[in-house]
Structures are given as structure tokens and as C-alpha cells.
């Protein structure tokens, strides 16, 4: 409908988007201000760019392709433990890289469970190292995210539509064509772009599982420029390349997202009448079991290894856990202040292009942002004093695109459905958020807050630049333990991290759902 109905103030949204741009470009400018005439592109940089894009493309493709059947199966099945499973499936996404990699290797590595099984069956071993390993790990990280985002899309289809489909006795294929395909067209491009951008900045996963310098990504080149060569000019140059690649991908994806709304129903619980056939049940069951196995077995390895480590963990780990918790809460608050106004602005626009601003934070190297702000802060005060707030801010920037992707579609629907009535009532500003938007978005906000909290719990980005001994976060402490041969204690710390991150995720998600149901 072409009616104008924009009760949300766009001013604060625009300012927040501007703030994000300033935070990132400011860092870039700060880095450039300290750059001396450095070396430009090296031939190996072109190879790194090609590899970076290729692995990110494959990772996004496979994550989304596999997520569609999983989300579809989860959307139309109700079974005992479904809620727990959906929460657990979020775990890989929030694990620190090294923990996840070790978990994956316990299953897929040279002496992992899979190869032991193959050996037992007299079959040749498979190697995880290479592009297949990189993609496997990225799918491991991002499949849950893609699934959750798609699942959420499925849940925006009003129950009435499925009732209609059931009444018309639509075949599963027809349901797919009429209900699910339009939905996928709306959700998939954004999700794919998001994963593509996440994987663009991959470094340790790509290097470790890629099997050597063939698997050099841009982020590694940036790391090298910052930390090994201290060639700030080159670091800034590579950061710009990364930003442009990610930005291009984001714009392309957001441009092809059609601006369609699923409309709304009367908040009836979603019951499904379609897909009741035996074959479909079997298929869905297999899909769910396979996905759960793929995601949970490596997690089990992490848990098994960690249990023995918990007892030998030094007290400093608990202190670090406290710091991580603080950062996590702060990240959620900062993110709320940035994301909500931005989402309001984006949702009240016809085209979604400005959502690309949100991806800036994710596509910028944390090392670049951290170094840039270190340069800015250093003349004013001791950067270490700001270690945790800066970490929270950077984490919030990283989580911003996910959160926008989670809340914008629902917010857009809410404004479309209730924009007119709120306007005739003269609801604007805080009352509009308080009484209409926040309650309508409760499940999405819970999910978003949980994701942000969990992500920043496990993040080991910018903290390494700023932290001193007293302000170490849990992932940093874990790395320090590993660096001191304390692999067992590190495993314990990893388990603690997993539990805390999942706990934060579960708690926020549950609160959101509770408010939605109340």
C-alpha cells in the first residue's frame, strides 16, 4: 500500500548510522594518520583476495543451502526438546574460534572420530585440511545462524496462511511455491550476505584448516601488516579493500531483497496442518538428526575435554569470566542504543539499502578498529583503562548487522500493520516504542540480545590490543592458558565460556519469548 505511514522518528536512526560510520572511518583515518610510506599491494595480496572471496562465497552458499531444509523441518515439526535443540544449535556460532576448531578436529581431524570409524570399516581416511575444511568450519559456525534467521522468517508467516493452505489441501510442493518460496526470497539474500561478510574476515579458521599459506585471507594480511610489519599504510589499504568487498556484497544482497511483507495474523500459535505424510516426517526427522549431529558432536568433544579441565582452572579464570560477563552486558546495552533507532529508520524506508551500514562494522577488521581507536585514545588517556568499554563497543558493532537482520523485517511488518493506527492515535517517540514496537518485537529482541551477549562473551578481537592483566576476558585468559601449556585448564575455560555464552543466549531468548507470550 502506498500510504505514507512513518510514525518512527528517523533522526536518531540516521544519527546512529552516522555514528557507526564515524567509528569505523575514524579508526581508518587514525591508522592512516600514522602511516608512513609503506608498500602497496603485493602479488600475494591478489591471491589472498581471490581466496578470501572464493571461500566466503562457498561458505555462504553451503550454509544457506543446508539451512533451508533444516529450518523447514524445524518449522513444521513439534517434538520434545525442540526448544533446547534450537538453543543448542546456536552454540557453534558463539564459540571462540580455537575451541570450535579443536572440537571439529576431534570429529573430523586426522585422528578424529570420523577417521577412526572409516579406518574401522577399512575405508580410506578423509582429510579436513584444505578448502573443504575451511568451508566445513564456516558452515559449522554459520549454519545455526542461518537456520535461526530462516526459522524466524518461517514464524513470520501468519498461522492463518498455513490454515488456508491446509484447507486448500495444497501439496508440500504447492505450499513451498506459494508460501515458502516468497519467504525464502525475502530472507535468504540477507542471510547469505551476512555469512559471506562474516567469512570474508575469517583468519584463524581459514589458515588452520586451509592447510597452509594457500589459504591466506585478507584478514591475515591485515594482521601481518599491523602486528608483524607495522606497515600501517598497507594495513589501512587492505582494510579498505575488505570494506569495499563486504560493502559490495551487502549492497547487492539488500538490493535483491524484495520489499514484501507477509502481513500479520492475530498472534495465534503457529500450528501446521501441512506435511503430515510419513515420508515427509521421515525426511524432516533425518534432516534434523543430521544437522543436530553435525553441530552437536563437536560440541560434545568440547564438553568432554572441558569437564576434566574445570577442576584445574585457576581463580583468574573466574575473574576473567566476570570481565566477560560485564563486557557482554555492556555490549547488549550499547547495541540496543545503536540498533533500535537504526532499525526504526531502516524499517520505515521502502528500500533496505541503508542496512548495509550495519555490515560495515562486521566487515571492518577488528584489528583496524582497535588500532585506530588506540591511536585516537592514546594521547588522551591510558587505552587499557578503556579496554572493556571499547571491547563492548566493537563487539556491538560486530553484532549490529545480525541484530538488524533479526529485527528489521519484524519491525517493518509491525509498522506496516500498526503504523496507521498509531498515527491516528498520535503515538510517537518513546510511547510508540514502549507500547507497540518493543512488545511486538519481544521475541526478536530477546534473540538479538542473546546473540549479542553470547557473541561478545566469546569474542577475542579487540581486547588483545587493549587488555592488561586485570582486564582479561575469558577467551583471552583461555589463550593465555594455552600459551602456558595449560591445555587442560584451557579446555575447562572453554567449557565455562560455552556454558556462559549459551546461558546468556538462552536467558535473553527466554525472556523475549516470555514477554511475547504474556
Amino acid at each position: 500500500m502506498a500510504w505514507r505511514s512513518v510514525p518512527v522518528s528517523t533522526k536518531s536512526g540516521v544519527s546512529m548510522a552516522a555514528l557507526v560510520v564515524v567509528l569505523i572511518l575514524g579508526a581508518l583515518i587514525a591508522v592512516l594518520s600514522r602511516a608512513e610510506a609503506g608498500t602497496g599491494f603485493a602479488p600475494s595480496d591478489w591471491a589472498a583476495m581471490r581466496f578470501t572471496v572464493w571461500q566466503a562465497f562457498l561458505s555462504a552458499l553451503f550454509s544457506v543451502l543446508l539451512a533451508v531444509p533444516v529450518a523447514r523441518a524445524l518449522a513444521r515439526r513439534r517434538f520434545l526438546g525442540r526448544g533446547v535443540l534450537v538453543t543448542l544449535l546456536g552454540a557453534p556460532f558463539i564459540l571462540p574460534v580455537i575451541v570450535a576448531v579443536l572440537g571439529l578436529l576431534a570429529v573430523f581431524g586426522r585422528s578424529g572420530w570420523l577417521n577412526l570409524l572409516l579406518e574401522g570399516l577399512g575405508l580410506p581416511a578423509v582429510s579436513i585440511y584444505g578448502i573443504q575444511g575451511v568451508v566445513l568450519a564456516h558452515v559449522f559456525f554459520n549454519l545455526p545462524l542461518a537456520t535461526r534467521l530462516l526459522l524466524q522468517g518461517w514464524q513470520t508467516v501468519p498461522a492463518e496462511r498455513f490454515r488456508l493452505a491446509a484447507q486448500l489441501r495444497l501439496t508440500p510442493w504447492a505450499v513451498f511455491r506459494t508460501l515458502e518460496l516468497p519467504l525464502l526470497r525475502k530472507v535468504v539474500p540477507g542471510v547469505a550476505a551476512l555469512i559471506f561478510v562474516i567469512c570474508l574476515t575469517s583468519f584463524a579458521v581459514a589458515l588452520t584448516l586451509g592447510g597452509g599459506p594457500r589459504a591466506t585471507t585478507l584478514e591475515l594480511a591485515i594482521y601481518q601488516a599491523f602486528r608483524f610489519d607495522f606497515d600501517l599504510g598497507r594495513a589501512a589499504l587492505l582494510s579498505v579493500v575488505q570494506l569495499v568487498m563486504a560493502g559490495g556484497a551487502a549492497l547487492l544482497a539488500l538490493w535483491i531483497i524484495p520489499a514484501i511483507s507477509m502481513g500479520s495474523g492475530q498472534d495465534r500459535p503457529l500450528l501446521r496442518w501441512d506435511a503430515r505424510g510419513g515420508w515427509q516426517r521421515l525426511w524432516d526427522g533425518c534432516v534434523i538428526a543430521l544437522a543436530a549431529g553435525f553441530l552437536l558432536v563437536p560440541l560434545c568433544a568440547v564438553v568432554l575435554r572441558g569437564v576434566t579441565g574445570i577442576v584445574v582452572m585457576p581463580g583468574s579464570v573466574w575473574q576473567a569470566a566476570g570481565a566477560s560477563f560485564y563486557v557482554s552486558v555492556l555490549s547488549v546495552l550499547v547495541l540496543g542504543a545503536i540498533a533500535l533507532p537504526m532499525a526504526g529508520w531502516i524499517a520505515s524506508r521502502r528500500a533496505g539499502g541503508v542496512e548495509a551500514v550495519g555490515l560495515l562494522g562486521l566487515s571492518a577488521s577488528p584489528l583496524m578498529i582497535g588500532t585506530g581507536w588506540f591511536i585516537v585514545i592514546n594521547p588522551l588517556m591510558n587505552p587499557a583503562a578503556l579496554a572493556l568499554p571499547v571491547t563492548a563497543l566493537v563487539n556491538a558493532l560486530m553484532a549490529l548487522p545480525f541484530v538488524l537482520r533479526i529485527i528489521v523485517p519484524r519491525l517493518r511488518d509491525t509498522l506496516q500493520d500498526f503504523g496507521r493506527v498509531t498515527e491516528t492515535l498520535g503515538m510517537r517517540g518513546w510511547p510508540l516504542w514502549r507500547w507497540v514496537i518493543l512488545p511486538r518485537l519481544a521475541p526478536q529482541l530477546g534473540f538479538a540480545a542473546g546473540l549479542t551477549g553470547a557473541l561478545s562473551m566469546g569474542d577475542l578481537g579487540v581486547i588483545t590490543l587493549f587488555a592488561d592483566m586485570d582486564r582479561a576476558t575469558l577467551p583471552l585468559q583461555m589463550y593465555r592458558l594455552m600459551g602456558a601449556y595449560q591445555m587442560q585448564a584451557a579446555s575447562g575455560a572453554a567449557l565455562l565460556l560455552l556454558v556462559m555464552a549459551l546461558g546468556a543466549f538462552w536467558a535473553c531468548d527466554a525472556v523475549g519469548k516470555h514477554y511475547a507470550a504474556a
Binding site: 580455537i98 578436529l105 588452520t208 584448516l209 591475515l220 588483545t464 589463550y479 593465555r480 592458558l481 602456558a484
Partner: protein, 326 residues
């Protein structure tokens, strides 16, 4: 702590004259300050005598340490930097931030120490660590011809990785690319840092991992696990010497000098072997801890002079990338 200290001093002067405990800030790498690292014990031992507050600030690895120092420049709060190694000394001196030192000690290093800026506090040989249930190769050539799988660190992001690069370059010169080509199919993967590589090795992902000849000492002493050993290569072993230096911008120059001397003293040296798992730079009066005698001793120590490292590094890196990227 200059800015803050200044503010604090002004405040204190205004109220009452209080004898402030001087603070000595030492930048170091992360694992040094971890609970099992030397940091806590060193801090305790030094604070017993110095009447000061010693504060370690952990920062990634040696390379990250130097990067941070360059970022902060003259304004750095650090009084000392501990944990740079011989590959980084040239780059560190180039910053012009370090002051000369007159620390002297009876060093137990395989080479003569002549540097006037930095003092060595521990050292080790890079070596491949393996499980004793296999027969290790005798040199890089034999390793390249074998089917053994190794994990190494990336020279672009880690100091051991860089050490291996210099090791091969020093031993083989122009023939280094051929060695790397031979090793290409042995390298399971390349990791970002030492921790990842060692973790992969312990997980059974490789037969050998690039580490130090002293690594098995950890397993022997701390875990009573004698299944790990380092292999001696007949090309000789590249050394890593870890050093401490003080910054010319320090507001506690005397205390800083005192700390440097402390680091080569018996008190500190006896702490290092079983916390940093490296050889002490000066032999402690009690000798090496039990368990170190089981370690292999390379006959031939290799080290490229600090000022020649930067140029060689770029050349060796290009060769390494070329050989392993195919």
C-alpha cells in the same frame, strides 16, 4: 602512567605529602603473565626488594608487543619491555625508544652476548617435538622425504614460525626453497600461533610440531609424562633468545635498571625454567631443575645477527610462500 601519575601527584601535593609507591610498568607477552607463567612469581620476588609496585601488562606475543610499543611511541606508559626476541631486536632498536643498559651477568648462552641495549633473560632452541613412539628424522631433508606430518606456525603471525623460517634460511641459504618444497607435503597445516599448533599436535593431528627443545621438560616435570621428546637435527638448531630492555622515556629509570639486573639475577633465573619452560640465561646456583637433564642437546647453535634479520626475513618469507602455496 605519566598523565595519570601527574594528575595524581598534583592532587596529593595539594592535600598532604604522601610517599607514593613508585609503579614500574612492564610490557610483556601474554603467556608470561598467565598464572603458570613466570609473571606472578617474578612480581612477588622483585616487589620484596624494590619497594615498588611491579605491573605486568600482557600483550599477545613478542611481535604484538613491539607493534603496541610503536603505536604508543613516546607516550608509552611502559618502563620496560620484556619478551622481544632476537628476530625483533633490530626492529625494536629502530624505534629509538630504548635506552642503553649496563647490565652484566655471567651468561650461559651458547653464543657471546654483546648487545648494549637489551639483556637476555632466557633462551631455547627451536625444535620439532614428537611422541617417543616414532623414529624421528635426522634433518630437514629426511623430514621432507618422509611421510611424517608436521604442524608449523605462520611466520607472518608468530615468532616460532619466523624462527623456523630463519632456521631453514640460515642452514640452507639459497637452497632453502628446495627444502620448503620438500616439506610442503609434510605440513598438515600452518597455524596463527604457537598455542594452536601445539594444541593440534596434542590432539593427534600431526606427528611433530614446531616448538622448543625444552617443551618436553614441561610434560616431564609438570605432568610426569615422559612420552614427548624433541628431535635433534644435524643442521644445528636455531636459537631464540628472549630479552628485556628499558625505555628511554621511563619515569623510573633507576628502578627499570634495577629490574633488568634482577631479571639476570639468581632469584629470577631460578624461576624461569619451570614457568617459561626455557633455559635460563644465567645458570642458577641450584643448577637446572630435575627433568631438564633428559632434554636433548643440539650440538650446533644457529643465530642470524639481529641487524641482518629484516632483509633476510623478507626474502625467506617469499620463498616460503612460494613453496607452500603451490
Amino acid at each position: 602512567m605519566k598523565a595519570l601519575t601527574l594528575a595524581a601527584t598534583t592532587l596529593i601535593a595539594a592535600s598532604a605529602a604522601v610517599a607514593e609507591t613508585p609503579e614500574l610498568v612492564v610490557y610483556t607477552y601474554d603467556s608470561f603473565v598467565s598464572d603458570w607463567g613466570p609473571g606472578p612469581q617474578i612480581e612477588k620476588a622483585f616487589e620484596e626488594t624494590c619497594g615498588c609496585d611491579l605491573k605486568f601488562v600482557g600483550n599477545g606475543d613478542g611481535a604484538a608487543l613491539l607493534a603496541r610499543l610503536k603505536l604508543e611511541g613516546e607516550r608509552s606508559d611502559a618502563d620496560l619491555v620484556l619478551g622481544l626476541d632476537t628476530s625483533l631486536i633490530a626492529a625494536a632498536k629502530e624505534t629509538g625508544l630504548f635506552a642503553d643498559t649496563d647490565v652484566t651477568a655471567d651468561y650461559a648462552l651458547p653464543i657471546e652476548w654483546t648487545d648494549s641495549t637489551f639483556a637476555p633473560y632466557d633462551w631455547g632452541y627451536f625444535a620439532f617435538v614428537h611422541n617417543k613412539d616414532m623414529t624421528p628424522p635426522a634433518n630437514f631433508k629426511a623430514l621432507g622425504e618422509s611421510d611424517l606430518k608436521i604442524v608449523i606456525q605462520d611466520p607472518r603471525s608468530s615468532t616460532p614460525g619466523l624462527g623456523l623460517l630463519m632456521w631453514v634460511k640460515d642452514a640452507y641459504g639459497d637452497k632453502a626453497p628446495a627444502i620448503w618444497e620438500g616439506l610442503a607435503d609434510n605440513v598438515v597445516t600452518v597455524t596463527k600461533g604457537w598455542s594452536e599448533a601445539y594444541g593440534l599436535f596434542l590432539e593427534g593431528e600431526a606427528d611433530m610440531v614446531l616448538s622448543y627443545t625444552t617443551s618436553p621438560a614441561y610434560h616431564i616435570i609438570a605432568e610426569e609424562d615422559e612420552t614427548k621428546a624433541a628431535v635433534v637435527f644435524d643442521e644445528g638448531h636455531y636459537m631464540q633468545i628472549e630479552v628485556v630492555g628499558r625505555l628511554s622515556g621511563s619515569d623510573q629509570p633507576e628502578l627499570a635498571a634495577e629490574f633488568m639486573q634482577f631479571m639476570v639475577s639468581d632469584a629470577a633465573q631460578s624461576i624461569l625454567p619451570t614457568t617459561n619452560w626455557m633455559y635460563p640465561a644465567v645458570m642458577p646456583s641450584g643448577g637446572l631443575p630435575q627433568g631438564f637433564e633428559a632434554l636433548v642437546q643440539p650440538e650446533n647453535a644457529r643465530l642470524i645477527e639481529a641487524d641482518k634479520v629484516p632483509a633476510l626475513r623478507d626474502e625467506a618469507l617469499a620463498e616460503w610462500l612460494g613453496a607452500l602455496s603451490q
